[in-house]
Amino acid sequence: MSDTTKDLHSEYMVINMGPSHPVTHGTVKFLLTLEGETIIDMKVDIGYLHRGFEKMCENGTWEQVMPYTDRLNYVSPLINNVGYALAVEKLIGIDVPERCKYIRVIASELARISDHYTNIAASGLELGAFTAFLYFVEARELLWDLIEMLCGARVTANYIRIGGLKNDLPDGFKAKTKEVFKTCRELWADVDKLLTKNRIFIDRVRNVGIMPPEDAIAWGFTGPCLRACGIPYDVRKFHPYLVYDQMDFEIPVGEKGDNFDRYLVRMEEINQSMRIVEQALDQIPSGPINVNMPEYRWQSKDDIGNRIESLIFHFKTVTEGIKPPAGEIYSAVEGANGELGFYLVSDGSGKPYKCRVRPPCFPLTAAMPKMVKGGFIADIVPTFDMINMIGGECDR
């Protein structure tokens, strides 16, 4: 048998799973070398959504960067806002009031829940479970109604400011949250019953896309993909920021590092985030939400109308930008995908000198060939979905 196969002229098929393909929903190009349906080699090409975020930041002032950060990870925009604001505040060296920290925690966790909903829904859709997709999209719509009530827009929130927030919690927010969470928990139970123990689904995601823990650390994994490998690293626990050290929540940890573990970790994280939001709403103190520093945070309209120094600082900060002291820092928050880091360099003027983003899904996408080599084309689908590569974040 092997003699005859040596005589047959066979060649590998090189096929392009290009940027416009139903599976590559972050616009990524995969160049696959196939033998039948087995993947021999794979090359990943990113950059199809590169918009020049870092260069744009150098042209605007520190405050003008905030709407741009919304568009980095566009399924959880509030977390990007919080990350950037925390980084600039660390550069300046100010600390925000307690109430502001609690509201920032609530905003981050709501964004994290909606990111996990989107990810699991998209995986269900691409594996063929259309109904699970629409149940989670329904839950995400309800969450977006909450965020719209909070800050005025569903996706491009632009809610956090350097030194505080845009506005306080609206009336009736706590009651509406309870109502929304009740429906969301019912839908979560529905999708859990549809997918988690279904052998068809388990066969698609189990033992597929395995990443051993040492390799995961070597590649730079963070977030749910690292926790699925068994390593309980979470920025909220190791380097607590805001008020996470006062919240009571658990970190879900997987066993083997395959796609099934990533799915289970994300499902459990939704529950833990809901716990955090409910605790925060119970514990939130009353008080101010902005720092009283006119050179860094815009003052109220009353003050601008009545006090001359507020007016002067208002005009100066709007036209020239706020002026953090010269220096550089790195500050990280726990994004929905992993550690979202901001490395800011300031030269003392109103515009950032450099604003570099550490995207959490960049190392994950880079590790794709290692995870799928030797598998089938059909294995790319759940692996790429569970990584949750967001084009806006990976390509900036």
């Binding site: 691409e126 063929g128 259309f130 109904t131 629409l134 698609r204």
Partner: protein, 357 residues
């Protein structure tokens, strides 16, 4: 002689109009509306004629107009003949297979014995299997003739899947044939007069396996690896548009109806209401005279048959919209390593039970 001819023509017209005229467009509407109701949304209901939307029933007409006005092309480098031939090969067996499915029993009408089945062949079931195997050519040719790597992969998967599941489907049927002792579908239907003679009680495992294998043969979810939308864009019919695309789709929908018809005939009592026989029906309608009684009995039985068919169509649609899809090698493993041994064991046990009687 003439009466036979009229009877055949009426039956053929009836089945044609029900299948192609009624079920094909309605199934498109059912798919949209049923999936919408399962997913908490409204579904498509905007197509209207003079302001009447009629809950979306005009959408199939809109689809037909759209499809007929689309450009009909053959991709460059593709084999013209096979590219055009593939949809026809896929569609024809689906239409023909309904010729041997009985939708009613035998009645006396105007002094003539009417048998509500278009062609009462004595190899009943095998006729359907023969034509189902011909349908697999359509998928293979469509995949190969498109000059596209993705279609090629889809065609490969389709060919292997359809061939394997035909083998297993054939083995599943042997249990039913052994129990009823005949290949003729009209006799199998007639034997299910007694409620406890229904196939579901005599061959439960056979029902589950046959239903699953038939869905796999039809390439519907969860077995739609050949046309998996997310992996292979659209699999073996990526390069089709317009009328040819619709022919592939219509073939799939008509096969859904055929499978529902087969399952009803073999396992669920064909056209019988439970505990009611043809004789009882004709006696019940005796007040209308002998011909009227026959006509009313025919109506009741045909309505029962199609009600059961509609139930199985609903069941297949629910399965499609609930379950994720298999991976290609898992489909093969399921067919050869799980279903084949179970089918053989089923035959063995059926034989033992029949011997013991």
């Amino acid at each position: 002689m003439v009466a036979d001819l009229i009877e055949s023509v009426v039956k053929i017209l009836f089945i044609f109009s029900v299948n192609i005229g009624f079920f094909s467009p309605i199934l498109g509407w059912v798919e949209r509306k049923q999936s919408a109701l399962m997913q908490d949304r409204v579904g498509a209901n905007r197509a209207d004629i003079c302001g009447f939307t009629l809950i979306g029933l005009f959408h199939p007409i809109a689809d037909a107009i759209k499809v007929l006005t689309k450009e009909d092309f053959v991709p460059t480098g593709a084999d013209r003949l096979f590219h055009t031939l593939a949809p026809f090969i896929s569609l024809t067996p689906a239409i023909i297979a309904f010729a041997v499915i009985p939708f009613g029993g035998q009645y006396e009408l105007f002094g003539h014995r009417v048998n509500l089945i278009i062609a009462d062949l004595d190899v009943g079931i095998l006729f359907i299997f023969a034509f189902a195997s011909l349908a697999s050519f359509g998928a293979v040719l469509g995949g190969w003739a498109s000059n596209n790597n993705w279609s090629f992969l889809g065609g490969l998967r389709a060919s292997a899947q359809m061939l394997s599941y035909e083998v297993v489907m054939g083995l599943n049927i042997i249990g039913v044939i052994m129990v009823y002792g005949t290949l003729r579908l009209s006799e199998i239907g007639a034997m299910q007069v007694n409620f406890f003679n229904w196939g579901i009680f005599l061959q439960p495992v056979g029902f589950v396996l046959f239903f699953t294998c038939a869905i796999a043969e039809n390439k519907r979810a969860p077995f739609d690896v050949a046309e998996a939308e997310s992996e292979l864009v659209a699999g073996y019919f990526t390069e089709y548009s317009g009328m040819k695309f619709v022919m592939f789709w219509m073939g799939e929908f008509l096969e859904i109806v055929t499978i529902a018809g087969l399952v009803t005939t073999m396992f669920f009592g064909a056209w019988h209401l439970p505990f009611v026989s043809d004789r009882m029906l004709v006696d019940f309608f005796g007040f209308a005279g002998p011909n009227g009684a026959s006509i009313l009995a025919i109506l009741v039985n045909v309505a029962t048959f199609f009600a059961k068919v509609i139930f199985f169509i609903w069941l297949q649609m629910t399965i499609r919209w609930t379950l994720p899809r298999f991976r290609y090698d898992q489909v093969m493993r399921l067919g050869w390593k799980m279903f084949l041994p179970i089918a053989l064991i089923n035959i063995f046990i059926t034989g033992l039970v029949l011997l013991a009687k």
